[in-house]
Symmetry: C2
Subunit: 212 residues, 2 copies
């Protein structure tokens, strides 16, 4: 885990996303506050016209589209190295996935060891994978939520940094439940980044604990 | 599901448990209130000296020990029928599992269709099985909880009636987390019984919804 950083240094984030980037926006908003200990160095998408790139440009932050290659759920190995190079070029210290719809392979993870985090719209280990708010609704869960976790080689399986719970209402549709979860996502993702930037976490096996 | 019952009728519960029966005590305490719409008709254990049977006797409620037979995790079929007979003899309308450490088979479930509920110390579908509070802690979950669910042929897999979440603290041991979950268990188990007794639930597939 990171050492406590000096008050002057802001942790440099690289954000990867494929879609509208509402979690990226939450990070942009947090980073816009003077006392927030991180800043976004670059925002990269595998989708050329993704709204997340518009958000980057609007915030005056470097927006990069890097074409993903021929696969649907992962990057070609040489493309993955292009992502790594772009992140390194911007001196990225922490990679934040924000709706990035491709699995990152070992070579990428080794380039940023313990330095890739993701936000998932469920209380992991429940409902990994896609559209987990819909999974929760269809399963009849009464409590749903979201999880910020370190990314490892599995799917939504890395050590958990922060979780938040929300109720599932009888009247919920997939859309209303998703919206309620997103409110918490936008709160806990900046919170997790802050904890890392301030060097306040330590990992013990699967448990991510606050430093004393 | 049950039809709304008349104000005079109290839903007759049969409680099955193998251990200390703290959830049974929560049901006993709820049933002791005049306005609670259920009463415990019989408490049955597979363990002769289980504390749950002392709780029954102390409350003046029929306590039955029915020896489980030769298996460790289920009842012998003829023993299961003895359980069914005892519950029927007491006109039990809803079977509440409270730390009953044996899987009930189809013949039992068919005798009380949609009329067997259980409380599980995790936010199902996360952490089914044994010592789920310890599973949650070891997994590094930041949110834990408990679930009241209908019992089906699977393990902790039936439709969910009520769930409650609790935080996991860095300082938690298995014991302190378990204690925090139990506080919520003792609240939601009587709540679930009340919802059934008042005929306020309907089941749609896996979803258990309140009647309008």
């Amino acid at each position: 885990m990171s050492q406590p950083t000096s008050p002057q240094h802001k942790l440099r984030l690289g954000v990867l996303g494929s879609g509208s980037g509402t979690n990226c926006q939450a990070l942009l908003d947090a980073c816009a506050k003077p006392d927030f200990p991180a800043e976004i160095a670059v925002i990269i998408s595998d989708v050329e016209n993704a709204k997340i790139l518009d958000r980057a440009r609007q915030a005056g932050i470097e927006a990069r589209w890097i074409a993903p290659g021929k696969f649907r759920t992962k990057l070609e190995p040489e493309v993955e190295q292009r992502y790594v190079a772009a992140l390194r070029q911007h001196n990225v210290e922490l990679v934040c996935l924000a709706g990035f719809m491709r699995v990152l392979k070992d070579d990428f993870l080794k380039a940023f060891p313990g330095r890739v985090i993701n936000i998932h719209p469920a209380l992991l280990p429940a409902f990994p994978g896609l559209e987990s708010w819909k999974q929760a609704l269809d399963h009849g869960a009464k409590v749903a939520g979201c999880t910020v976790h370190f990314v490892d080689a599995g799917v939504d399986s890395g050590p958990i940094l922060v979780q938040a719970a929300v109720p599932v209402l009888d009247s919920d549709t997939a859309q209303t439940l998703h919206a309620r979860i997103q409110v918490e996502e936008h709160r806990i993702y900046p919170e997790a980044v802050r904890l890392i930037a301030e060097g306040r976490l330590r990992v013990e096996g699967r448990r991510v604990l606050r430093r004393e």
